[in-house]
């Protein structure tokens, strides 16, 4: 019984997290954050390669 409840709680939490992830993604896209990611990723990151 207890474990069935725990499994149900897990499923609900999973669903909640999924909704939250999709909301975050949607908000991020609406704010154009993917462009920031692109701008960083198409230039050599000097910190990453150990120069700057």
């Amino acid at each position: 019984m207890r474990s069935a409840l725990r499994t149900r709680d897990s499923s609900l939490l999973r669903l909640g997290l999924l909704v939250l992830a999709l909301v975050f993604l949607g908000v991020g896209l609406a704010r154009g954050e993917q462009q920031e990611v692109l701008a960083k990723a198409v230039r050599i990151c000097l910190e990453c390669i150990g120069i700057g």
Partner: protein, 304 residues
């Protein structure tokens, strides 16, 4: 268990290239498919780099076709000073769908560690008393170097550097730094103390990987830590059929993460590499999609 399954015990399977290795190689080639970049010493600059890959793969690797989520997270916090909706949403989705399958099957730096561990050098088992607390280090790296310091450390320029990338990330040095410096004399001429530090960190991690199984994943990787937090909710799971298990212990001896497989399969430390499944003589271990079985343990205690 089950005498009936004891009769069905198979000998170890003989294969040239395991399922895990094939997927790892394909994923490494896919995430780093811009082969010309290595020749030219240039990085890929097209639109796919707006997408984060689910693994630790430096976006300054000449072959990289996508963005590193850990680098992107630090940039959103430290350079743009906003809540990282896009990167965090993407990472949460990866965590919920794949979880640490990304570590066991997809991550190129996981592959590097697995291959190094094949070198014929003495193997070391980290004592439990050190191993258990050390597994929490990766959560500290995630919280401090990736999230809190980039978000809150004041800086004169208004831009806090990506501290994990700058001081710790071995994937950046191996995939980005070394190939770019080899190809570009101008970059070589400006490499100084920081590069020496990063090269030393990389060398230490690579040496450790030859002696200990997956040391970076166990103790330091912030992306592994992030996915570990989601392991409870992840769609991809490993399952053990207790009726089939003959308690032979082969799974536990082969597990690269030193997990008590018969008790804690699919917990936060399990990277879903499937090696236990391959070696199990009674086919008691399988992959599944969906529900978590009640009563699984969480936390680094899940390791032996």
């Amino acid at each position: 268990m089950s005498g009936m399954y004891r009769d069905r015990v198979r000998g170890p399977k003989k294969r040239r290239l395991s399922f895990q290795r094939k997927v790892q190689l394909a994923a490494a080639a896919l995430f780093n498919g811009y082969a010309a970049g290595f020749q030219k010493g240039k990085i890929f600059t097209s639109g796919s780099k707006a997408l984060c890959v689910p693994v630790l793969n430096c976006y300054s690797c000449p072959g990289a076709l996508g963005a590193c989520p850990i680098g992107a997270l630090q940039t959103a916090l430290g350079a743009h000073h906003h809540f990282p909706f896009y990167v965090l949403g993407t990472l949460m989705l990866f965590g919920l769908v794949l979880g640490r399958v990304a570590c066991g099957l997809l991550c190129p730096f996981g592959l590097v560690q697995d291959l190094l561990h094949k070198l014929p050098l003495p193997k070391v088992r980290v004592p439990k008393g050190l191993d258990r607390p050390a597994r929490y280090l990766k959560y500290i790296v995630l919280a401090l170097l990736v999230l809190l310091l980039p978000a809150f450390l004041p800086s004169d320029t208004g831009v806090t550097p990506p501290l994990f990338c700058k001081y710790l990330c071995p994937a950046g040095t191996l995939g980005g730094g070394i190939p770019l410096l080899l190809a570009d004399p101008a970059l070589r001429s400006v490499a100084g103390a920081l590069f020496s530090w990063k090269a030393a960190v990389l060398a230490a991690i690579l040496l450790a990987a030859a002696l200990v199984r997956r040391p970076f994943c166990k103790y330091l990787c912030p992306l592994g830590a992030f996915y570990a937090l989601f392991s409870r909710f992840s769609l991809c799971r490993m399952e053990l059929d207790a009726h089939r298990c003959v308690q032979c212990g082969r799974c536990e001896s082969i597990c690269p993460m030193d997990i008590r497989v018969t008790q804690d399969l699919s917990g936060p430390e399990c990277i879903h590499c499937g090696r236990c499944q391959e070696i199990c003589p009674t086919e008691a271990i399988s992959r599944s999609l969906g529900r978590r079985t009640a009563g699984e343990k969480n936390g680094p205690e899940a390791s032996k």
